[in-house]
Amino acid sequence: MAFIPHTPDDIARMLATIGVQSIDDLFDEIPRGLRAGTLGVPTALGEMELGRLMAERAAGDGRPLNFIGAGAYEHHIPAPVWAITTRGEFYSAYTPYQAEASQGTLQLIYEYQSMMCALTGMEVSNASLYDGASALAEACLMAVRANRAANSRRILVPRTVNPTYAQVAQSIAGNQGIVFEPVDFDRTAGRTLLAALEPYSGQDVTALVLQQPNFFGCLEEVDQLTDWAHRNNILVIAVVNPISLALLKAPGEWGERQGGVQGADIVCGEGQPLGVPLSAGGPYFGFMTTRMQYVRQMPGRIVGRTVDVDGRPGFSLTLQAREQHIRRSKATSNICTNQGLLVTAATIYMSLLGAAGLERVAAASMQRTADLTAALSRIAGIKPAFSAPRFHESVLILDRPVAPVLGALSRRGIFGGLDLTDRYPELGNALLICATETKMAADIDAYAGALADIMNPSRAAA
């Protein structure tokens, strides 16, 4: 029996110690009528046979050339990242509640928190949330708790914010009376206009969500929008891409210094680009950073540095009184288990790349996307949608429905991008493309060649 080490001799001795005749006697408190019958699940497989089955299924899924972004990004993951992360001491350790037995994990999280503060330009970080979308939901709940001056439950969410994030925020935070108001975007530029926010000046609003780069890959005018929000006692929730922060102004620096403070108030986002593989959608991790003044409103675990009885430095979970296991119904969140293993990978990734390496990744991704956009726009029937500067994604408008084109590309082993038709019907036949540093010039040529062929089939290739 898989993984159960007991020999018949072990069993006999143990039953004798307990004082029962059989293992079945141990379940005598369960009413007979409730007992399950035979389980209708497949018979056991050994590791070898299961390995063949999994290999076949994987082979069937193959390894297409990927140009989809939309919240999950393909980056090179250095070999040491998962070699170390899958060490049993990290992989099979539990939440570091017994601090003395978990200094490795705790110090790692402290280093992670420090790096996220450095990247986002903020003062304090938590130890992770589930993913970027749920991190935004938690940030919205936190903003309502933190913004006493506004005493409101209304949050402005520009339509340039990832639509799935907005949906998840609604699913998670909607039950607590929070109202999300969409804000439209400029069709030419592809970003949020200050004019669209002005009607909310002096109104009952607690927070403004700003995604940078936005879902279209375009750069928002974060300074101007942040200043507007702060003038109106509205907290700014920044949703950011961690790789882009190697090149982009950190959210802690957005806007002007007002009353001794500057920048976004709460920062969150998806940490997956930092050393976490795409893996069909998860596990990823959400990050959240903020100002020290809001630290007690921040959900999730936090590691602090302290000393032991001998004065030696050490690390432990702190501010636990806010969390579910103590505060129960008044907790900042119900979150318990978070995404520890992914934080491990991300911390190792950030240590290996450093600021210099991240800048190279960001710059290469930006240039590759620019090259891909240019190459595809040269094809008849395709043009870029927006004029604003962009990071590593762009939107193209096609002269025909996108889905069949993507289907044709997929049959050639290329995942060409995300069809935006359902999410943004007003844009028409829109396609969101992404090229990271993993794409070489030859890959871009392959995509452009295939797409040209699909859009305008030559007489020879019938």
Binding site: I4, F27, A44, M115, K249, R301, T306, N338, L358
Partner: protein, 489 residues
């Protein structure tokens, strides 16, 4: 005795300007793409500048400061620290699964695994449908309570906003109810550790949305009167939510659907052995009966003929919505699938049997050594509680002291101070993957600690002695907040 790596500097302290792991950098790409000046970062972020070997050595040494299942017996009650099979990781990390973007055409191989996982979880729990999308137990609970609320709203029964929770419940339960906009009504348990049925009868009414229960309870005992509890709540118009944290105790023996539960969340990182990872990622799959099926969180794997596809809002218009950016912790679910295929029908039935055998054996041996079980007349489920309240009175030592001293003996401590109801308690869950010898070693350590309690209690109150750090100042950690390393100004 434990033998862990001693202190390791912060990675920032190992950093030197100009150092870097250059083989990891992508080639420079010529071109003119640039960020407008006013949006550009002014100074690079203060990340470490270290060599690749420094990184490898630093994080390897950090790992060596941890206790883990791979290295130590880890009887943490309510956490189910069983062996995490390596095959689960190896197969989940096959390059085709690992490199797959979630928004491309549905990967049929991966989806086949997910679909079969849904089916197996349905079968094991006796439920009608499963969603794999919640990313941890707490999110699974959220989904469960949100579905209960949605069910009542859909029937225009808007007054049902109360969730009943036993006093012994895990903290996530009332926290979740509050997150869903419900109020919490706590009910006591009786002297045997069962839900107080009279208190329950008084507590239900037209405002009752549902009850959140776990069975076996957090006290480590099977709810005798579960059929009656189900009847009382259903008759009052409420629904039953099952917290599956203790599923390891009944896997293959009893099915929550058969006990009358309408919704269950499972902790795949407990019962189905996905890695604890130092604090996640978990997976909180939810299963429902027919009543709650329309409200399941999205997406779910559907099958049309021979093809698998994601079911969306079009398929389930009454869904409580999406809880994650994509489809939950896909890689964790894949590991759970591998585990369940390795166990198979034969192995799954044995899980609860040997979890119970190990727990009852350990409880009997500790009782024989003079320790007091909180519920001595009850069978242990897959875990049991020892209370040290008598020892606390006699020797002034606490459960925390014993927990810390166990570290010196090379064992991770059991869970302490949960459930809150039992004073100075240790909640002990050995799991089915431990040998009898390991359990005997643990008993030997506890017996030695008992002797120390009587003769040298200071050894306990100042434990641990052999860890990389001694007992940490938690008060200072919360008062003088040092939560991030900052570069010198």
């Amino acid at each position: 005795m434990a033998d862990l790596q001693a202190r390791e500097p912060l990675i920032f302290e190992l950093s030197r300007p100009g150092r870097g792991a250059v083989t990891q950098y992508p080639p420079r790409v010529a071109g003119t793409a640039d960020i407008p000046a006013h949006l550009r970062r002014a100074a690079p972020p203060a990340l470490p500048e270290v060599s690749e070997l420094q990184v490898v050595r630093h994080f390897t040494r950090l790992s060596q400061m941890n206790f883990s299942i791979d290295t130590h017996f880890y009887p943490l009650g309510s956490c189910t620290m069983k062996y995490n099979p390596k095959a689960c990781n190896t197969f989940a990390m096959l390059p085709e699964f690992l490199g797959r973007h979630p928004l491309g055409p549905e990967p049929q191989g991966f989806m086949a695994c997910m679909y079969e996982l849904q089916e197996m979880l349905q079968e094991i729990t006796g439920m009608q449908a499963v969603s794999l999308t919640p990313m941890a137990g707490a999110q699974g609970e959220f989904a469960g309570v949100a579905m209960i609320r949605a069910y009542h709203r859909a029937r225009n029964d808007l007054g049902r906003t109360e969730i009943i929770v036993p006093q012994a419940a895990h903290g996530t339960n009332p926290a979740t109810a509050a997150m869903c906009g419900c109020t919490v009504k706590e009910i006591p348990c009786d002297a045997n550790g069962d839900v107080d049925v009279d208190a329950l009868k008084a507590a239900v009414g037209p405002a009752t949305a549902g009850i959140m229960l776990t069975n076996p309870s957090t006290l480590g005992v099977f709810e005798h009167k579960i059929a009656e509890v189900a009847r009382i709540v259903h008759e009052a118009g409420g629904l039953l939510y099952y917290d599956g944290a203790n599923l390891n105790a009944i896997l293959g023996k009893v099915r929550p659907g058969d006990m009358g539960f309408d919704v269950i969340h499972m902790n795949l990182h407990k019962t189905f052995s996905t890695p604890h990872g130092g604090g996640g990622p978990g997976s909180g799959a939810v299963g429902v009966g027919a009543r709650l099926r329309p409200f399941l969180p999205l997406p779910i794997v559907g099958k049309e003929g021979a093809r698998f596809r994601w079911l969306t809002e079009r398929d389930l218009p009454q869904s409580i919505g999406r809880l994650s950016g994509f489809m939950g912790n896909a890689g964790v679910n894949l590991r759970a699938y591998v585990y369940m295929r390795l166990l198979g029908r034969e192995g799954m039935v044995r899980v609860a049997e040997f979890a119970a055998l190990n727990a009852n054996y350990l409880m009997k041996r500790l009782q024989a050594a003079g320790f007091e079980a909180a519920y001595p007349t009850r069978r242990a489920s897959h875990e049991f509680i020892i209370t040290l309240k008598r020892e606390n009175r006699l020797y002034q030592i606490t459960a925390m002291d014993v927990a810390k001293r166990l570290l010196d003996y090379g064992f991770h401590a059991p869970t302490t101070y949960f459930p809150l109801l039992v004073p100075e308690c240790l909640l002990i869950e050995p799991t089915e993957t431990e040998t009898k010898e390991e359990l005997d070693h643990f008993c030997d350590a506890m017996i030695a600690i008992r002797r120390e309690m009587e003769q040298e209690p200071e050894k306990l109150s100042s434990a641990p002695h052999t860890m990389p750090v001694r007992r940490l100042d938690d008060v200072r950690a919360a008062k003088q907040l040092d939560l991030a390393w900052k570069p010198a100004a």
